[in-house]
């Protein structure tokens, strides 16, 4: 019955269900870590809480109140995914996101990894009908816009590398190699050390990364490329996790759902 009701949804409807469920489970599972990170003893080390748009300072909840906010945030997403008060629950989740994460994003454990969440929730809020069936053709723009959010992450990261380091310098691999050595110096990572000693491989990997990041916008024009870019992107995050211990995957995978669903829907339409 659950599968039947899921199958009746279109791409954005399915994405809404999967995204909200995934994020709800993720924050609940991460609650013990969040409880450690929210500790006021970190204020001196990591600085104060983040401001919304660099301007709006939010109240810092106590450790107990923060945990309650995390649970309500997860519950509101789950209720929305299950179809209860879809939009009001999304709005509640949006407000709670800022309260929950304002004291967490200063930690590199969370950092920019959840930045897409509120933007995706805004798009879902603006989507005309999240419950419309697959037969009733909903507007495609919400799917396109969520893909744009995903594209911006990588494309902007590539532009920053070009502005800061220069395309040729980055593609030479020297900068990437230096970052690997720095990561090894901080964390003693054997994989980073081994890779840093192979300059040709560093150049190859650095070139592959910038090529991937600079061409992500292609998925906006050619949905048939979505699955390929999803695979390459996930591979990229697995690699940075193994080689540099930068673990984006568990947070970022939620946004990859749109590529997987859009790619799958494209191919099912073709068939």
């Amino acid at each position: 019955m659950l599968i039947d009701s899921l199958m009746s949804l279109n791409t954005i409807g399915l994405f809404h269900v999967f995204f909200c469920s995934y994020v709800a489970i993720l924050v609940l599972v991460s609650l013990p870590i969040y409880r450690k990170l929210i500790d006021p003893q970190y204020d001196f080390i990591y600085g104060k809480t983040a401001k919304v748009f660099n301007r709006i300072e939010l109240p810092t909840p106590s450790m107990g109140a923060h945990s309650v906010c995390v649970v309500i945030f997860a519950a509101s997403l789950m209720f929305s995914a299950l179809g209860f008060f879809i939009k009001p629950m999304l709005l509640l989740a949006l407000i709670l996101y800022f309260i929950v994460f304002s004291s967490l994003i200063r930690h590199e454990e969370v950092g920019r990894k959840t930045h897409l969440y509120p933007l995706i929730i805004v798009v879902l809020l603006l989507t005309p009908d999240l419950n419309s069936g697959a037969e009733q053709e909903n507007a495609y723009w919400p799917v396109w816009l969520i893909k744009l959010l995903w594209v911006q992450l990588y494309f902007s990261a590539a532009i920053q590398k070009i502005i800061g380091t220069g395309l040729r310098q980055w593609m030479s691999g020297a900068s990437f190699q230096t970052y690997l050595i720095a990561h090894d110096a901080w964390y003693d990572i054997p994989m980073a050390k081994a890779l840093a000693k192979k300059p040709m491989l560093c150049a190859l990997m650095a070139s592959a990364v910038i090529l991937f990041q600079l061409t992500t916008w292609l998925v906006l024009l050619f949905p048939q490329l979505s699955l390929i870019y999803a695979f390459v992107g996930l591979l990229f995050h697995v690699s940075t996790g193994v080689v540099m211990r930068i673990h984006y995957l568990k947070y970022i995978v939620a946004s990859y759902l749109i590529l997987l669903l859009d790619g799958a829907s494209f191919y099912s339409l073709l068939n």
Binding site: I45, A50, G164, Q177
Partner: protein, 157 residues
């Protein structure tokens, strides 16, 4: 793909696109928007000092601090480096107030993770990277400061 595009959708997409272009070109972070400046600066390995901590137990044995939240050690190292530009850490130097604060914070982190740890002293090591050619490099650790935990506790340093 865009058969059923409507004015509402076009407006929303255009607004997001404009914000993204501005954020990206200005290299600005304005949570929840970000330009994602990751690995964008060319770093010079020869300039930065990597400060790492070794924990010394009552028997005099030392081992690298390896917190569960791995970024803690880097953050503490960065703060030590920042506060060492004015007052360089040496074996004989006196800790500045800010350096003391950083080490007290480190001690709190260590004790909150390992409440039963037998900690005698914190040893600050300066880690330098020596590159022989573009393929090989060596990491050299030099002890630059040692502080007894008791002294940090009482604040009498």
């Amino acid at each position: 793909m865009f058969d059923n595009i409507d004015a509402h959708g076009v407006t929303v997409c255009a607004l997001f696109l404009l914000v993204f272009i501005r954020i990206t070109l200005a290299s600005k972070d304005s949570w929840p928007f970000s330009a994602y400046p990751m690995f964008y600066k060319p770093i010079q390995l020869w300039e930065p000092r990597y400060y790492r901590l070794k924990l010394e137990n009552n028997g005099g044995d030392r081992h690298w601090w390896a917190p569960k939240v791995k970024r803690h050690q880097r953050r503490i190292g960065v703060l030590l480096e920042r506060h060492s530009t004015v007052n360089k850490l040496t074996l004989d130097s006196k800790l500045s107030a800010s350096q003391q604060q950083v080490l007290i914070a480190a001690k709190q982190l260590i004790c909150s993770e390992q409440p039963h740890v037998q900690l005698q002293a914190l040893c600050v090591y300066e880690r330098r990277v020596k590159r022989s050619d573009n393929k090989d490099y060596q990491i050299i650790d030099v002890l630059v400061h040692r502080v007894e935990i008791e002294q940090l506790h009482s604040g009498s340093y």
